[in-house]
């Protein structure tokens, strides 16, 4: 059997496997795996429940992922000799540590920063003058005034979707520095933009993607939008096979202007209406709706407004009428809607308020 037919056979077998939902990630099987295996570390990913999902990785998984992200640095043209400030969380969540390790592999110097205090961040950034900033779009917006721009060559973003309008605004702020967005999640790293910003290049031998119909389990052809299904080929400790990402996208296989002939994934938001808050933390409209229904017993007319005011994010829900007890209960339930929202509210970065408007 030659290599091509062997690959086809593997893909055929893969496609016979069932899809994997979010619930599978917190199954008992994973805990058993952890108790019986060695050399594992755990990172968390936000879930729709109060408990975060735990993702286990072995050193081998981490090393393979580092190599893959190193390729991202090459696509971005920043592999070697750069001073990279990685302004992300560096414990609990995988993206910060992985970004650091990959940049080191690519020959760059890394400064991990997870502070929230602007003065402290400024002090560090001023002392090292980074040439690359790796962070989330919301953090770029928040900290743009304190990021030294003199030596800045490129910006890497990930963790949150970035609208074209936001990209233009950020480009203007950062004197037209190239902004490269990467697409991925704790369950698996997927792809990166090249300088033409026309979809995310990805390596099918590292992240195998399929596009599933919204209405059925049918796998769609190239160029048609559907739900992105991820098989992470780098993760062995905790297999992520045909994972339903909840993201909407399409695949294109034609050669890119940059010369790469890898497939590209084009994103078009989330399956469920989702509001992004801060640091990649999101809240599903559906989850808020469920809480409203649950507390108020009926579903009144409501509006969700996310806004930032002097560094404090607020989720404002406008309702026409509500008792004080129920208002308090709603605030409590929404503040605890998932692990990340709870964290943001407890650390004073997010405030939930219920506004009553006649």
């Amino acid at each position: 059997m030659n290599r091509d037919s062997s690959r086809k056979e593997i893909i055929r077998k893969l496609k016979s496997l069932p899809f994997m939902g979010e619930a599978n990630l917190s199954s008992k099987i994973n805990e058993l795996l952890f108790k019986n295996e060695k050399d594992l570390r755990v990172y968390f990913t936000s879930g729709t429940t109060k408990r975060p999902k735990a993702i286990y990785s072995s050193s081998g998984d981490i090393e393979r992922t580092e190599d893959y992200i190193k390729w991202f640095c090459e696509v971005e043209g920043i592999a070697g000799g750069e001073t990279v400030a990685v302004m992300m969380d560096h414990s609990l969540w995988a993206v910060g540590p992985l970004t650091c390790l990959a940049h080191i592999k690519a020959g760059n110097l890394v400064i991990p920063i997870d502070l929230r205090n602007k003065n402290a961040i400024k002090e560090i950034l001023d002392s090292v003058n980074p040439t690359v900033i790796s962070t989330l779009p919301s953090k770029l917006e928040e900290f743009h005034k304190i990021i030294p721009k003199k030596k800045l060559k490129a910006i890497e973003t990930t963790g949150e979707p970035m609208s074209q309008k936001q990209r233009e605004r950020l480009k203007k702020i950062f004197n037209n520095v190239n902004i490269f967005d990467a697409y991925g999640m704790t369950e698996g790293v997927i792809g990166v933009e090249c300088k033409y910003h026309n979809g995310y290049h990805y390596d099918e031998n590292k992240a195998y993607l399929e596009i599933k119909s919204f209405r059925s389990n049918k796998i769609l052809e190239e160029n048609i939008y559907g739900e992105i299904i991820l098989t992470n080929l780098l993760s062995m400790a905790q297999p992520i096979i045909r994972y339903q990402t909840g993201d909407v996208g399409k695949i294109k296989r034609e050669r890119c202007l940059c010369g790469l002939n890898t497939p590209r994934i084009f994103l078009k938001g989330r399956m469920a209406k989702t509001h992004y808050i801060l640091d990649g933390v999101r809240i599903k409209k559906e989850s808020v709706k469920d809480i409203l229904k649950n507390v108020l017993k009926t579903l009144p007319k409501y509006k969700i407004k996310i806004q930032s005011n002097k560094g404090l994010m607020t989720i404002e829900i406008n309702l026409s009428e509500i008792s004080e007890t129920k208002r308090r209960l709603l605030i409590k339930k929404i503040s605890e809607i998932n692990f990340d929202i709870l964290n943001l509210t407890k650390t004073g970065q997010l405030k939930v308020s219920i506004m009553v408007k006649a």
Partner: protein
């Protein structure tokens, strides 16, 4: 020019000559050591101690090209400067191998499952311990502490599911964990704790042993220079003489290693900024007798002294009275005395009451100065990077009280006295 000879002839153990030579070669490239000529001679008996360690950890003192660096970490520093800790790949690997060897010395193996609750981000501790346990092959949960109890409880739930039996932390973080979770659960799951950043008292160790049956192993590190670890007999810090060279000195000369004196630390695995004869004010002596644990590494016995005594607040952050004195030296009128009271609430958050005494005649000046309290608060908050972060994250809060110098003394005990360093210097 000062000639500086690394003196180790009184160390009866073998000396890593090659390591020293390589380090001295590197040091020549660092601006910090430009004014020193280093010679190595095992016959030399004349000790010359390098002056102070001020601002050694600065980018300008790099001994290697920045292209060779993989990390910049930060720590402490002062009001107007930061300590920067650069690492080359080789140095990072060697350092973490050493830490892994130290962990193995206290019986850590791949059967252990660790929760690393040290700070991450720009601080070295979390990253370094994580790499060390990876080398051993332990399962681990990299989760720094959170400043609210609900989050800590959630992390604890995950730790339990992972069968965590080892906590790698700092003394104040371990106490924070104890307060945030149910102590009984702690007792049923955790049997070992490796604590770094600060020295731990015998009382502290006894408390965790008696109450929770947790064996506390203290790590000795100063200004991010990793020195050694205690074994289960808690009789000094074992260190590898091939990686760390320790000399015991007084103001004028080398002392016999077995007598108490100040330490000069030479890290033979340092590279980006060579650490040579770094003076540490803690009094210590070295014990070369074979330990009951079987390790042939010598032991460093630290004498508890008041020199540069560290005080700690929640969030694993500590400070010395000299740091406060430095921060308060921005004030125009010199203060007579500053008393600091640290009160910890049930949630482990600290209220820091500063009672600053001024001369009667200065009170009017202070009243007239705009935003005087804000200025003091700002200066205190900026005392160091760690402190600034602890205040921002809400682990501690600063309250300032003014007093005239002839006001009655506070009856409260456990107050930390800080003198104006400008007055002390005049004297």
């Amino acid at each position: 020019m000062i000639s500086c000879k690394l003196q180790m002839s009184k160390n009866p153990k073998k000396v890593n000559h090659e390591g020293i030579r390589n380090l001295l070669k590197l040091a020549k490239k660092s601006e910090y050591y430009r004014d020193f000529i280093f010679e190595f001679s095992k016959k030399s008996r004349k000790p010359i101690i390098t002056s102070g360690n001020n601002h050694l950890f600065d980018i300008k003192n790099l001994a290697v090209d920045t292209k060779k660096l993989i990390y910049y970490f930060f720590d402490g520093g002062g009001v107007n400067y930061l300590n920067i800790f650069p690492f080359t790949k080789k140095e990072w690997e060697k350092r973490n191998e050493y830490i892994a060897d130290c962990y193995k010395l206290v019986g850590i193996s791949n059967k252990d499952s660790a929760w690393i609750s040290l700070p991450y981000g720009p601080w070295i501790d979390g990253h370094m311990s994580q790499d060390a346990v990876r080398l051993i092959g332990c399962n681990f949960l990299p989760a720094t502490l959170s400043n609210n109890q609900i989050m800590m409880q959630r992390i604890w739930q995950e730790a339990q599911q992972m069968d965590v039996n080892l906590i790698i932390s700092s003394p104040s973080i371990l106490r924070f964990i104890e307060k945030s979770i149910n102590g009984l659960e702690l007792s049923s799951k955790i049997n070992k704790a490796i604590l770094s950043k600060d020295l731990v008292s015998k009382r502290y160790k006894k408390y965790f042993k008696n109450k929770y049956n947790i064996d506390v192993f203290n790590v000795y590190q100063v200004d991010n220079i990793f020195i050694g670890i205690e074994c289960k007999y808690h009789n000094g810090f074992h260190y590898d003489p091939d990686r760390v060279l320790i000399e015991i000195v007084n103001e004028r000369s080398h002392l016999e290693m077995v007598k108490y004196g100040n330490m000069l630390i030479t890290s033979l695995i340092s590279e980006a900024i060579p650490v040579i004869r770094y003076k540490i004010n803690n009094k210590a002596k070295i014990n070369f007798n074979l330990c009951r644990c079987g390790s042939n590494w010598p032991r460093l016995n630290i004498k508890e002294t008041n020199i540069d005594k560290k005080y700690e607040i929640s969030g694993g952050v500590n400070f010395s009275s000299s740091q406060i004195s430095n921060a308060l030296s921005v004030l125009k009128p010199k203060f007579k005395e500053c008393l600091l009271e640290i009160i910890e609430n049930k949630e482990g958050k600290c209220l820091m009451n500063f009672y600053i005494k001024f001369k009667n005649s200065d009170i009017e000046k202070i009243k007239n100065e705009k935003k005087f309290i804000e200025k003091i608060k700002n200066s205190l908050e900026n005392m160091s990077l760690n402190f600034k972060d602890a205040i921002f994250e809400g682990y501690a809060e600063i309250v300032i009280y003014f007093r005239v110098s002839n006001s009655k003394k506070s009856k409260k005990i456990n107050l930390i006295k800080i003198k104006d360093k400008r007055i002390l210097n005049q004297k």
